[in-house]
């Protein structure tokens, strides 16, 4: 079954300032979308607003999964509806290992007991094994299982760990916020291959990026250009190439 994420006339405010204006987007769970824009265009705001970060206030519009609004739901319930975000700056979690995080996440998403008296039945050995496999896919060794999430990780390791989490959770839609930043060209290649291997056109991908480097490895179906909080242009992969040649300033003039 193909799931659909719809963003309708979305307006978002941060501390009283409107950062997104009338965003419209439809993403199917077998599609790859790229959202490109310069710094401060509102890319991260879009990612965090969809996921329900408390700092981002939605003033107008709606976000729906399969026609059902998710705006009334707290962040964890949105995740349970199939939404995932890979953060641009994943925060350190002191004392919480990757294994603990994944265990808690899958307990909530997949193995939640039916009644409060029931104990959740979690296949820990299987989870550990899958974690090892997915870590290998992104080029991280298995010691990361027992490391505190993002504590002492390099920029690239943080991004890789986010993709491992996506692989374990297997969401319907994943917003990947500048997954390519902090990675060198080899890293981008490894992570891109891992993303494709994990998603297999069964996870709707929204790639948020400044540059088209990652798009050379993950060919998007659609490219959207975000400028000053608005989507000003939508096209195919060729749009990314055009942006690369002309730059965002050229687009601004065109708009």
């Amino acid at each position: 079954m193909v799931d659909v994420l719809t963003i309708e006339h979305l307006h978002v405010e941060v501390e009283g300032k409107e950062v997104l204006k009338d965003i419209n987007l439809e993403v199917k769970s077998n599609e790859i979308h790229a959202i490109m824009g310069p710094n401060g265009a509102g890319k991260t705001s879009l990612a965090l607003a969809i996921m329900g970060h408390p700092r981002y206030k939605i003033t107008k519009g709606d976000v729906k999964i399969n026609g059902e609004s998710i705006l009334g739901l707290p962040t964890d319930k949105r995740a349970q509806k199939g939404l995932f975000i890979s953060l641009q700056y994943p925060i350190g979690l002191q004392g919480i290992t990757l294994f603990t995080l994944i265990k808690a996440s899958l307990t909530a998403l997949k193995y939640a007991p039916k009644s409060p008296n029931e104990k959740p039945n979690i296949p820990l050995a299987q989870i550990r094994k899958e974690l090892e496999i997915n870590l290998k896919k992104v080029g991280l060794d298995e010691t990361f299982i027992n490391r505190y999430v993002n504590e002492g990780f390099s920029g690239g390791e943080k991004k890789k760990s986010e993709i491992v989490q996506m692989a374990m959770i297997k969401p319907k839609f994943a917003v990947l916020d500048e997954t390519d930043s902090g990675l060198d060209i080899d890293g981008i290649k490894i992570v891109s291959n891992a993303i494709l291997n994990i998603s297999r056109r069964e996870i709707g991908l929204i790639l948020i990026t400044h540059y088209n480097r990652i798009l050379q490895f993950i060919k998007p179906d659609y490219v959207h250009v975000l400028l000053d909080g608005r989507i000003v242009e939508t096209g195919g992969p060729e749009l990314a190439d055009l942006l690369e040649q002309k730059g965002y300033d050229w687009f601004k003039k065109e708009v």
């Binding site: 970060h53 707290p74 953060l87 994943p90 925060i91 979690l93 909530a108 505190y148």
Partner: protein
Amino acid sequence: MTKVELSFDYSKYNFRDYVEYEVKFPKGLTEEIVREISRIKDEPTWMEEFRVKAYRIFMEKPMPAWGVDLSSINFDEFCYYARPTSKKGRSWEEVPEYIKRTFEALGIPEAERKFLAGVGAQYESEVVYHNIRKELEKLGVVFLDTDTALKEYPEIFKKYFGTVVPPNDNKFAALNSAVWSGGSFIYVPEGVKVDLPLQAYFRINAQNMGQFERTLIIAEPYSEVHYIEGCTAPIYASNSLHSAVVEIIAKKGAKVRYTTIQNWSIDVYNLVTKRAHAYEEATVEWVDANIGSKATMKYPSVYLLGKYARGEVLSVAFAGRGQHQDTGAKMFHLAPYTSSRITAKSVSKDGGRTTYRGLVHVAKGARGVKSSVRCDALLLDEKSKTDTYPYNEILEDDATVTHEATVGKISDDQLFYLMSRGISETEALNMIVLGFFEPFIKELPMEYAVEMNRLLRLEMTGAVG
């Protein structure tokens, strides 16, 4: 966002027994009561005189004007000695049924079978059960309740008792010295390594009870021992007082670790003096968790008396509504090349208050000293409070003394990150608090780590708001 209220599940510990005491003194403290305690214990004269002297010091010393608020302590309202039974069991069968039930509910005999080298259990003033594995006994390891040790090992006892914490050290050390009863006595001969922990469990059952156990640990050269104590009490409307003294002597190259999981109910004043003497190349580690009590004042100390001696304190505190945990550590570097490390972590919520109070002293002539102090406090809401009072007295120029302190709140970003993985807000808060305490929890034997995790598990009681 959802507003949640967090609280401890104390139900496991909050039960009481209705006991016929063999002996229970009337409330209040007089010299006559002090002498009477000594008499019914059939002690040597020197101990009776020690107690009486200490009692006079206690009466003279003013209440400390710093630390927690002690103004509502009324020394006349406490019972200073209560004996449930005169028998001390060496097997659980010998322990009276109702006391056995208490300790069984707390999981003690099961723990002993599984992973302890020895166990002591104290109920009010007296130790009711004491046992140590036979193979350790054969190696000369002594693990007894302190009263029995006074009778069976009078010479060692007299040589060390009161030498690390003298009665005039502070008002509550004086009080303990006057009315002490029970506690553990541990003697580890030269070169003997006790590889499993020895544990004592302290239980206050009666209302307005005072518990004043006295623990003395002597580790001969190159020996090793790990001692763990846990404490609980039922909740009453009025106060109880727990005032212990712990003395440790770690001789050359010896290694002693002392772990406390203090979970008194929230009507107990917990005013404890803990101190160790560490000789050349010896290591003393205090691992100290203060979760319960109404008010705690406790600053485990190490006197580093010989070259290359090492002291470590890992202290964690949790203060909820109506609680004040005033805890910390003291390190006295009195010899060259000694080193110390203090790590303090605290969490406050619902108006609870934590205080870190610490001292690092480097004496003149103690060259090459290294010391590091790190304090992290986490505040779960606006009503709660934390303060830090780090004192340094550095009298030698080449000492390396570092201090780091942080005060944090749980950030929206941390919660958001965990919740974006499908984890509920309550569970996310739980994970952050447990993660904050992780450096402490990982120092505990596995079974205690599980219990500690359970203890720290927070429950959602609020509603969506």
